[in-house]
């Protein structure tokens, strides 16, 4: 039996009158890749934001490594070891690439230079652009920077919200390779992805969400075979 890293127990979240999550429970075990699949507005981002403490949770509990982190302030959640790659290539646009990465290593000031090396190794483009102001990077470069910056914080659990957004196919596969490498090194990963095919191929375990609820869950391979899932998310005839 693998140890539980993250356990979300029946949380619900709403934006004013809009109920974005309704009694959602998921689990991430040690060394596992968990994929969240769902169409637009299914609530994937809301779930990740709730875990991160960016959104108030009304009911339910979030437990990370045995500690209750429900409605804890975001920086504490981050400090406790959850790294989020946010949706839509968010970077500090007035700072240089290098500075963005350095800030990412906030909790490990001693190890910044070694982490930098490994990030630059994964993303050579960033090394080339290290002194460029991040706001002038291309969309894809910003996404890479965003991922690199999260890796700088050596998270114990990596959460990625659509990391492949706006990336070239080659880079996407590189990114997934990097994520897999990280997973092999022991990082559990929670991945939210619209591209259900990629996500199911990639994940060990998957949750399929729709309008704020978990519809299906189970080992990713099994879900791939589930005709309902295939029809709704994998473009019927795949």
């Amino acid at each position: 039996m693998k140890k539980n890293v993250l356990r979300v127990e029946g949380i619900s979240v709403s934006y004013g009158p809009i109920q974005a999550l309704d009694d959602v429970s998921i689990e991430v075990d040690e060394g596992e890749i968990v994929s969240l699949v769902g169409a637009n507005g299914a609530g994937k981002t809301s779930l990740l934001r709730a875990i991160m403490g960016l959104q108030k949770v009304h009911t339910g509990r979030i437990v990370f490594m045995g500690n209750d982190i429900t409605n804890t302030s975001t920086d504490k959640v981050a400090g406790s070891g959850i790294g989020l790659i946010p949706e839509g290539h968010l970077v500090f646009s007035t700072m240089t690439v290098l500075e963005n990465l350095q800030v990412g290593g906030y909790h490990y000031p001693q190890e910044v230079s070694s982490s930098l090396e490994s990030v630059f190794e994964s993303f050579p483009v960033l090394y080339k652009r290290r002194n460029q102001i991040a706001g002038t990077l291309s969309g894809g470069e910003q996404q890479m920077l965003s991922i690199g910056r999260t890796l700088m914080s050596k998270p114990k659990l990596l959460m990625a919200d659509e990391p492949s957004l706006g990336l070239a196919p080659k880079v996407i596969s590189e990114i997934f390779n990097i994520l897999r490498d990280l997973n092999e090194k022991g990082y559990p990963i929670l991945l939210a992805e619209q591209n259900a095919k990629k996500a199911l191929e990639f994940g060990d375990h998957a949750y399929v969400m729709e309008t704020g609820r978990v519809l299906f869950q189970g080992p990713a391979k099994e879900l791939m075979g589930n005709p309902k899932v295939r029809h709704a998310y994998l473009g019927g005839n795949v």
Binding site: T74, D75, L84, P86, F92, E99, N100, V103, Y106, H107
Partner: protein, 291 residues
């Protein structure tokens, strides 16, 4: 020639006032993304505290400490206002401008109402100090020297702090996007308060330097310089520390040369005319915006 050199020195000391204030102003821009129009007013308020402390003790250390502590406290005390503001308005610099103008109004009103019966305050005449240099009209007092050196040193120090150290990067990251900053684990409230405290610290030191340079302060002192401070900061490129140094000194020199040579009633207008022309030609400021 003698007169010219004397005016140049005067310009430098006037410029050092602008440099110190613009630095603090830019600091608030860089670390908190706000136009702190009331920054000069805060400094003047600290001068009042400094003066009040002098009534009780002559201990220089305590006086400086009081000035710094008061400025830090006041600056930190207004932090929640701007925090709430940025929560509600995103990063709307214009709104922060309007709010800080009302804070300036508030401070001026308190000073002209409640402190020293609203009268100007004066520091001991020996505070302005002996001359370090004295050839005829070419003189330079200790106070002037402190302010000038202090100004340049402070710019260097804060430039280093903001752009070369870990903490500086954290400040800038936070000011740009506090949500993102919290995602990567920066303790938002603590860091924000720290950044305001540091700007307050600079303000406290500036207040002491001004006390020695100017020898007095009045409720309207803040208003007199605030607008020029904003102008210099924009002229140099908002948030540009080095540009602020250069433009601050330049404005000081330009102003004192204008006062020294040009037909009397127009000297100040001419300094403004220069600013106007530069702004019309280079709307982004001379050195480029850096926030």
């Amino acid at each position: 020639m003698e007169i010219f050199v004397a005016q140049l020195l005067n310009g430098l000391s006037l410029g050092s006032i602008y440099v110190l204030l613009v630095l603090g102003f830019n600091l608030m821009l860089v670390v908190a993304k706000i136009i702190q129009f009331a920054y000069p007013h805060l400094v003047v308020l600290s001068m009042y505290v400094c003066w009040g402390m002098l009534k009780y003790t002559n201990n220089m250390f305590l006086v400086v400490l009081a000035s710094i502590v008061s400025c830090v406290i006041v600056n930190v005390a207004i932090e929640p206002i701007f925090r709430a503001l940025s929560k509600k308005h995103g990063l709307d610099i214009n709104v922060s401008f309007v709010v800080s103008i009302s804070i300036a109004l508030l401070i001026t009103d308190v000073m002209s109402h409640a402190l020293n019966y609203g009268f100007p305050i004066a520091f001991p005449t020996d505070w302005v100090g002996k001359s370090v240099l004295n050839f005829g009209l070419i003189t330079f007092s200790v106070g002037q020297a402190y302010a000038l050196i202090g100004g340049i040193a402070a710019v260097a120090l804060f430039f280093y702090l903001l752009y070369r150290t870990r903490q500086g990067r954290v400040f800038r990251a936070l000011s740009e996007n506090s949500v993102l900053a919290s995602i990567i684990g920066i303790p938002v409230v603590k860091t924000r308060i720290l950044s305001y405290a540091i700007a307050g610290l600079l303000g406290g030191v500036t207040a002491v330097l001004f006390a020695r340079l100017l020898g007095s302060a009045s409720p309207s002192l803040g208003d007199f310089v605030a607008m020029k401070v904003v102008a210099v900061s924009i002229l140099a490129g908002l948030g540009n520390l080095k540009g602020g140094l250069v433009c601050g000194l330049l404005l000081g020199i330009a102003e004192s040369l204008a006062m020294g040579y040009l037909p009397g009633s127009w000297s100040n207008a001419i300094a403004f005319m220069m600013i106007l022309i530069i702004m019309l030609i280079k709307p982004e400021g001379l050195f480029g915006i850096q926030i």
